[in-house]
């Protein structure tokens, strides 16, 4: 047994702070927290909707307050970062072959961004349509 065992001086909590690529990794993972909270807020809105107009108006007032707006800006940033990182790994997660040729990674990523724009525009138009 070694008399002076090597102990790495590494914080269990802050190990990712020293290297930019670990910081990016943590930002990607922590995006789930903000996306999760945002979805919980949407769920609270649905609950309000199910309880009637007064409950829903109360929800809207809280959600559209300053705290809600600041949260929305942070959540938006992380959500877009999640999208970026998620699309970035798609060529690795699901490589695509046409015949015996591998479809180039940047092409797969670009196709996802194209889909993203189409879906976003469609939802936007749907939300704005007067029915």
């Amino acid at each position: 047994m070694s008399r002076r065992p090597y102990v790495r001086d590494l914080s269990k909590t802050g190990w990712w702070l020293n290297q930019p690529r670990y910081v990016r990794y943590m930002a990607r993972e922590i995006s789930a927290l903000f996306v999760g909270i945002y979805v919980l807020i949407l769920m609270a809105g649905l609950l309000g909707l199910s309880q009637g107009e007064v409950a829903y108006e109360d929800f809207l007032e809280t959600a559209e307050g300053p705290v809600g707006l600041i949260f929305a800006i942070i959540a938006m940033t992380f959500a877009v970062y999640h999208t970026y990182t998620w699309f970035q790994v798609t060529p690795k997660a699901m490589p695509l072959m046409i015949g015996s040729k591998r479809v180039p990674g940047p092409f797969i990523v670009a196709a996802h961004w194209f889909g993203f724009v189409v879906v976003s525009v469609a939802l936007w138009l749907l939300a704005g349509s007067q029915t």
Binding site: L33, L46, M76, S120, L123, Q130
Partner: protein, 115 residues
């Protein structure tokens, strides 16, 4: 042979991640910024409009599926991230993460059925 449940869990995780990637940015844009900035009509998120739209069973189903996939994706990722941040009590982390997701799922289901 032992069958692993990992493919199903991973399938759901991947589906949730993909749905988040495509939908969450535009959803935040519509639900948080569009009306205050005057980019969409003021009644976009009104009670009448949304509750009318959610009378449709298909709307209910899509809403439920989207919220379900995203919340479970986020919950699973937060569980793994807690480990990365040095929280090693996985049982407690699991209870908090999956418990929140389960509560949210149940709440969404009940709310949608009542609308």
């Amino acid at each position: 042979m032992n069958q692993s449940n990992k493919p199903i869990v991973w399938g759901l995780f991947a589906a949730g991640g993909t749905v988040s990637a495509f939908l969450v940015p535009v959803l935040i844009l519509i639900t948080c910024f569009a009306v205050p900035l005057g980019l969409l009509p003021a009644d976009t998120l009104s009670y009448e409009r949304l509750s009318a739209q959610l009378q449709n069973p298909l709307s209910k189903l899509i809403t439920f599926a989207v919220l379900f996939l995203i919340i479970w994706h986020a919950a699973h990722r937060m569980r793994i991230t807690a480990h990365d941040l040095g929280v090693r009590n996985d049982t407690v982390v699991m209870l908090i993460c999956y418990g929140t997701a389960a509560a949210g799922t149940l709440l969404t289901l009940l709310a949608l059925l009542r609308i």
